[in-house]
Symmetry: C2
Subunit: 282 residues, 2 copies
């Protein structure tokens, strides 16, 4: 059991971490810092929050493990802000969706006193905010842990065990490999859902009322916060651009097959993707 | 209440129509024809099936309303097969996903003796077969009814009332307008989900095990039956090709904005689609 975990900037993910850690008894003490005082007042009343602090620096005093749950563009500034206050050998992790830059700069910010181990739980929702948090959010979901070669190995083990104990299936990969993977399985799907909505938005708006389950499901994530996604796409720009380009070639090949009435090819493509999708875990 | 409804080729949709009609007391008698004798044996044991017949012709004897629930390429052949056997003024409808050709040829097949009124309930599932049927499948879902100008108006009223009584929200549009709408809200989303899976299939297959809710939702419909979708796309080829092309322009514009680091434009596009998606009905 950890002596103290500190959660910085708890939204949906951070509060779910704190609640799940509380329920599973992973820490003796859970301290939280939220930027807005009125949120801290509310958090003080939650059973899973032992204390709130009014500054990030104060909240990490005595922390064994710090989870930075801020949006991707705020993770490094917060890491730099708390660096001098961290106890020796404290571990800092995050939940950001892009890892190359964060892993490198997080490591640099802490130097040798404390240890930055970047993480990315593949959990979330189009809903945001700590009030939508869920103690089972990480249950059976992939959590990437993305150490650099120079990352302190025992700290990697601690972070892996932490996510494992929250119910996640941990996958350890390099930050670069992570960013390539999520460009394909998360960022590209988001761009497609969003672009489909942007396209339909130019058409008769009554059409959306006719939507069956297909359109509803394929576009659900397009309702997510635009500013958050702008930052994710900015940080993973090169990988996302490459994935979009390759997808465009695949879509053009489908268009050509249908345009040429090559129904053998159309069917072969539909079958290939149907076979692939049916192998997803339940 | 109708004296007799006959359901031809009950899969998920046809059996759901029969079960919902039975539960809501919309017909005195429900007769079913299925192609395979072993399926007819099973259907004979269902409470919602008053009788099965071994030929489509025999099953429509005495029918007030016939629902043809076969795949789109089988609807017109079945209509032609039963035409001579239909009682005078019987009504025939269908559940096919594409309407222009079916509405025109269905009308031609029946002449003046009976009345073809094409329908398309926006309900379904990636699952198929009568055993997955659901009495609430049409509840609060759009059902398009797509008469031609020359379609017998009282029969249109009967078909509209029938779907309304099954719980659907009926929208009456021309077959051509229907095909334009579904190219956008159903066929294009399907092509995108399918192409995304076909693209990912070329990559490391372990990636799909890491999928969060986003990828799972955006690709769910890609698991649907390939042969069924080949026929749908074939019948609505021109509209689908146009929608794919316009989507490609929208995707290229997004790619350019991200490539040019025009984050104002990236954010504006994400916001436009997020606003659009949030206005979907719950």
């Amino acid at each position: 059991m950890l002596d103290q975990i500190t959660v910085l900037a708890p939204g949906l993910l951070g509060a779910s971490v704190a609640r799940a850690a509380h329920e599973r008894g992973l820490a003796k003490r859970i301290v939280v810092w939220a930027r807005r005082p009125e949120v801290r007042l509310q958090l003080d009343e939650q059973s899973w929050c032992d204390a709130t602090e009014s500054t990030p620096e104060a909240s990490v005093d005595n922390a064994s493990l710090v989870i930075i749950a801020a949006p991707v563009d705020r993770i490094i500034p917060l890491t730099e802000q708390i660096a001098a206050q961290l106890p020796a050998d404290a571990i800092v992790t995050d939940v950001g969706s892009v890892k190359s830059e964060i892993a490198r700069r997080g490591h640099a910010a802490l130097g040798d006193r404390a240890h930055f181990v970047a993480s990315h739980p593949m959990a979330g929702s189009e809903k945001t905010g700590w009030k939508n948090s869920d103690t089972d959010l990480f249950e059976k979901r992939t959590c990437f842990v993305t150490p650099l070669p120079e990352t302190h190995a025992p700290s990697v083990d601690t972070v892996v065990r932490f996510w494992h104990d929250l119910g996640s299936e941990v996958v350890t990969v390099s930050p670069d490999a992570h960013d390539e993977i999520v460009a394909h399985i998360s960022h590209l799907p988001h761009v497609l859902a969003s672009t489909l909505c942007a396209y339909l938005q130019r058409k008769d708006h009554s059409w959306r009322n006719y939507a069956g389950g297909g359109l509803r499901d394929t576009t659900r994530i397009a309702a997510s916060d635009a500013k958050l996604w702008r930052t994710i796409l900015e940080q993973n720009r090169d990988e996302v651009l490459r994935a979009i380009s390759e997808f465009q070639e695949e879509l053009q090949a489908f268009h050509s097959a249908l345009s040429n009435r090559d129904y053998l090819e159309v069917t072969a493509r539909l079958e290939r993707s149907s076979d692939y999708r049916r192998e997803f875990r339940p």
